[in-house]
C-alpha cells in the first residue's frame, strides 16, 4: 500500500499553553452502554409504573427477579471471562511445552544416530593414545607425537560433540 507522507509545516499555530497529561489521572473514561438494558427497563418500569406488573407487590417481585437474574448473568460473564483468560494461558503453556518436546525429540534422534560413531571415535582415539605411549618408549618419537595428537583430538571431538543436558 502506498502510504502518503504526512506533511509538517514549519508553523503549527499552537500557542504553547498545552501541558503534558498526568499519567496518574485517568481523565478519559470509556463510555459504557447499559450492561443489562432489559433488566434496567423492567426495574425502571416497575418503579415508575407499578400497575404495569399488576400492582406494587407484583412489580417489586418482578423487579427483584430481574435484578437478581441480571446480577447472576453479570457474575457468570465475569467467571467466563476469567476462565477464558486461564484457558488462553494454558494454551500458551501447552504450545511452549510442545516446542520444548519437539526440540528434545530432535536432539534425542540426533544423539541416537551419531552414538555409535562417537563411541568409535572415543575408542580409536584412546587406542591411538595408548599406541603413542608405546611408540614413545621404543624411540619413534615423531610418530608417537602424531598418533597422540590425532588420538587426543578424536577423543576430545567425540566427547564434546555428545549432546548433554539443558534445553538450549
Amino acid at each position: 500500500m502506498n502510504e502518503a507522507k504526512v506533511p509538517l509545516p514549519s508553523e503549527s499555530g499552537s500557542d504553547g499553553s498545552q501541558a503534558k497529561a498526568d499519567a496518574n489521572i485517568q481523565e478519559l473514561v470509556p463510555a459504557k452502554a447499559s450492561a443489562m438494558p432489559m433488566a434496567d427497563s423492567i426495574i425502571g418500569l416497575a418503579s415508575s409504573n407499578s400497575r404495569a406488573f399488576g400492582g406494587e407487590v407484583a412489580s417489586t417481585l418482578v423487579a427483584g427477579v430481574a435484578a437478581q437474574m441480571a446480577s447472576e448473568l453479570q457474575q457468570t460473564r465475569a467467571e467466563l471471562s476469567s476462565v477464558r483468560v486461564t484457558a488462553e494461558a494454558s494454551a500458551s503453556d501447552l504450545a511452549d511445552e510442545r516446542v520444548k518436546s519437539a526440540v528434545l525429540s530432535e536432539r534425542l534422534r540426533a544423539f541416537q544416530a551419531t552414538r555409535h560413531l562417537k563411541h568409535l571415535g572415543v575408542a580409536v582415539g584412546t587406542l591411538l593414545l595408548g599406541t603413542a605411549f608405546q611408540l614413545s618408549r621404543t624411540g619413534n618419537t615423531p610418530i608417537a607425537i602424531t598418533a597422540a595428537v590425532i588420538g587426543a583430538l578424536l577423543v576430545l571431538v567425540s566427547w564434546w560433540s555428545v549432546p548433554r543436558g539443558g534445553d538450549k
Partner: protein, 138 residues
C-alpha cells in the same frame, strides 16, 4: 455498531503522542468535501480498528470546503488555525486546526482518535419565552 468506512477522509497515526503543543492527528482528504459533517472523538481501542468512544470528548471541524490531496493537522492543544500551501500534490493545502485541550490526550497508545460523519441530526427546540410582565392582562 458496525458502520461503513469513510470515503472522504483518512486518519493517520497520531504524531508526537504525549508531547505538549505538538501532539496532532493527521488527516488526509481523499475526496473534496465539506468538513461540517465530520467530527473527531476519542476512543479506547482494544482490537485493530475497533474502539469504544470516550465520554465527553468531541471535536467538530465546523463548515469548510477541503479538496482531495489536502491535509488537516488537528493539534490537541490550543492555538490559531493556519492554512499553509503544500507541494505534494501541487496546489494542496495543509490546514492546522486546534482542539484546545489543556493537556495531551494520546500518550496511551490504546487511546485513539475516531473520525465520524453525521448522517442526520435533529436539533432540540429552544423553550418558548415566558410571557413578558407587561403583556399579562394586556
Amino acid at each position: 455498531m458496525i458502520v461503513a468506512d469513510l470515503q472522504e477522509l483518512k486518519l493517520f497515526p497520531v504524531a508526537d503522542r504525549g508531547i505538549p503543543n505538538q501532539e496532532r492527528i493527521p488527516i488526509q482528504v481523499l475526496k473534496s468535501t465539506d468538513l461540517g459533517k465530520f467530527g473527531v472523538l476519542v476512543g479506547v481501542s482494544y482490537y485493530h480498528k475497533i474502539a469504544t468512544p470516550v465520554r465527553d470528548n468531541l471535536f467538530w471541524f465546523g463548515d469548510g470546503l477541503v479538496n482531495a490531496g489536502d491535509w488537516i493537522l488537528l493539534y490537541t492543544g490550543s492555538g490559531t488555525p493556519r492554512a499553509d500551501d503544500w507541494t505534494t500534490p501541487p496546489g494542496s493545502k495543509v490546514y492546522s486546526v486546534h482542539w484546545g485541550r489543556p493537556t495531551t490526550m494520546f500518550a496511551n497508545t490504546s487511546v485513539v482518535p475516531v473520525i465520524f460523519a453525521v448522517q442526520g441530526v435533529d436539533v432540540g427546540a429552544s423553550p418558548s419565552d415566558l410571557p413578558q410582565l407587561g403583556a399579562i392582562g394586556a
